[in-house]
Subunit: 446 residues, 2 copies
């Protein structure tokens, strides 16, 4: 069957769905024909996966097609010919498109230890059936090892404790959240997990899974064996570029699909958005890979603009992220102090802590820690990290707006923010302002 479409979108995750939705919302020519092809009957909400153990029913953790006005063709694109503007599917459809959007997402890396073929060893797979089997297995387990101390790993550990499993969390680096946060924030995450009775092992790796058919223990680098009934590999995702690579579309140095600021690939009329696409870091300009649904949705809107001729350009990836563990939310945006130093940027750091209600004696008050990273040469805000109670999750997005405008320390300090006893720190202690003041005073920024 031959189908001619204006826009063909491959992939039904946040990137593909938001491209479709934004195109439909923004198009002026209502006859623009958009088709989304995806493999799965229902698309999973990727960030929700760790919470489908007990917090939310698995079959509710799906992207609501109908509410978003999406009609998807359930099929598998097997081949793309970007020179001829043609794509073919396993179901026998040949698409002729004017614009192609690759939104093929990311997949888990493979477990990097021996014996990973044993039953009871799982990866983060964005597939309802796989996850159903995984949770059913884990519900029979008493003790679970989570491998990987990044956001996904700590969120799984948190949920597994809600399920009253015994949890051991194993991270290769000597700290938690090693690639997303500076050490003091990883330490806050560790303290929360320890409080939740998670057995946190840092600076060590699983080298081997042991057991007869089913996993019964993992062996660490020092030879120690930990009895477990299940293992969850949460130590990394990678862009799914198989289709693009086979089509001769250029990949970047990170291995993801290379795109320009309009999200266009090496082939005119072919776009890549979301986890399959490489990003230019907003601050350093360097190519990075940063798996993120919110960044995917942003890129989808840029691509929709490009397809509609709106001349929109992204400014690069802010790399904003929130993760939650126990009662705290940890957010980051721009560069961490460590990332800035690695990029050769001289930094001026300001920190402040505050209580998220005022007076602090109001019930339910929690601590906020804010860290602002300025470029010491021009005083511009290049990054921020925040730890707060759950109701401070949005604080990182205030900082995202400020990093995006490259606000100076003085501009941040002279910002105006609303405060209210139940929902924010006091006007005198407001942590963003006090962290800017700390940078100004400590580093002589003006």
């Amino acid at each position: 069957m031959l189908r001619e479409v204006d826009v063909l979108i491959i992939g039904g995750g946040p990137a593909g769905v938001e491209t479709y939705r934004a195109l439909a919302a923004l198009r002026r020519n209502k006859s623009l024909k958009i088709e989304l092809v995806r493999r799965e009957e229902k698309s999973i909400v990727p960030c929700g996966i760790p919470y489908t153990g007990v917090s939310v029913p698995l079959d509710r953790n799906v992207i609501p097609d109908a509410r978003l006005g999406i009609r998807a063709a359930i099929d598998v694109v097997t081949e793309v010919d970007p020179d001829r503007g043609v794509a073919r599917t396993a179901g026998g459809t040949t698409y002729k498109y004017r614009h192609l959007v690759l939104a093929t997402g990311s997949v888990s890396t493979e477990p990097r230890f021996e014996g990973s073929d044993r039953a009871g060893i799982f990866k983060v797979v964005k597939d309802l059936e796989y996850l159903r089997r995984m949770w059913n297995y884990i519900r029979q387990a008493r003790r679970v090892a989570v491998v990987g101390g990044g956001p996904v790993g700590i969120e799984f550990a948190d949920e597994l404790r809600r399920m009253e499993r015994e949890v051991v969390l194993i991270e290769l680096m000597p700290r938690l959240l090693p690639t997303a946060f500076d050490p003091e924030f990883g330490e806050l995450a560790r303290a929360q997990l320890v409080e939740l009775d998670v057995d946190v092992r840092l600076g060590t790796a699983v080298v081997r899974a042991l057991g007869e058919g089913r996993v019964e223990a993992v062996e660490l680098g020092d030879g120690q064996r930990i009895p477990v009934d299940a293992v969850l590999w949460a130590a990394g995702m990678r862009p799914d570029t198989a289709l693009a690579a086979a089509a001769g579309i250029k990949l970047g140095p990170t291995g993801a699909i290379a795109v320009d600021r309009r999200m266009e690939t090496s082939h005119s009329g072919v776009y890549a958005v979301g986890d399959c696409a490489e990003k230019a870091h907003f601050i350093t300009g360097r190519p990075v890979w940063f798996g993120s649904s919110s960044l995917a949705a942003h890129e989808a809107r840029i691509a929709a603009g490009s397809i509609l001729g709106l001349e929109w350009e992204g400014g690069g990836a802010l790399c904003a992220l929130i993760t939650v563990v126990g009662d705290i939310a940890l957010g980051r945006v721009g560069v961490t102090e460590e990332e800035a130093r690695q990029a050769g940027i001289k930094v001026a750091v300001g920190k402040a802590s505050a209580v998220d209600k005022h007076p602090p004696e109001l019930p339910g008050a929690r601590n906020i820690l804010a860290k602002l990273i300025f470029n010491a040469s021009d005083g511009g805000l290049i990054g921020a990290e925040v730890a707060a109670g759950k109701h401070g999750g949005e604080i990182i997005n205030i900082l995202a707006a400020l990093v995006r405008r490259r606000a100076t320390a003085r501009e941040v300090y002279l910002g105006q923010f609303a405060t209210q006893p139940w929902v924010t720190a006091s006007p005198i202690a407001y942590p963003i302002i006090r962290a800017a003041e700390n940078a100004i005073v400590t580093h002589g920024l003006r």
Copy 2:
């Protein structure tokens, strides 16, 4: 007694305290001599006053002098001579100052009904002893009338319900929050109060208090009598300018002390900050009075910069505010749609609603309503209003950062924000972005 100081601050509320604290933090010359004179032994946290009925002990709702490094002289300044740089106190001190900061705050208006001298009729007075008497009285009451449906009135009504009093809330205008929010947000507040079993009376006024010595009822404009045991007048504050006016310092058209962008008054070396000072509206440029602790603290930092020769200038008042009623937080910044129209600005409004967790089936999820007000001629964001669960309180501060940079609809739409299942809306439904999209699509902004 004669005391020579570099900076004399009159008033111990957030404006005065933050001026002191910021001066001390930012000064390079550590011998700069700062003195703060205030009337009260302990300074109350003004925004916390409504919550001292039961949520927080009254004597904990005070500004923590010691923690902030503030030493205050407890005295009353009776006279200022700005030409000679001298101030005199009731306690017999004559201050000779180089810089004077007026931070005299605001006081309640007087009840505008007959019989307001009866026992059991209270105002919002920033004084521990007064408030102690008020709460003791109210604890004996069964039914309380709150007069005024602005933020302070609805916050008191909320707290009085927590105290299990019967509450009738009376607002002259036909809607709640009439001067701070557009009608749809006032309606959300009303619905919350009704859910809390508050008897909300709109478009009517108390004309008379009845009773023998103690108040026993209030009479409304239509002659209806409502039996009550206490009345709380929460229908307006006004700047306290007595000292400034007597000293010949110029007041502005709103009746507050006129200041320039450096917070300096008509008299060189004399500054006014906080509720006693007039503001220039950030968007309209018009003189406004806007009582707000967070704005007061901002102005205090500007004044500290002026005194220290840092050449800081405020850009005008963003008029950002959060209020809480029941389970929802309502925030506004810049101008409301109504304020924009009154100022003759042609507006392009975008709205969106979303759920504050994703998937929405996660426990505790609540609705968010976001309204963005753009200037139709240049597409710049000039105002925003948000209603959200308490953990969305900070969302208005993201918008405060965007209004301050005069972001266009497109810049807002192409913003990057972090999302996480427990603490934000989904990346596809993120309400700030969807409201910007709504404005772009509805009004053809680009």
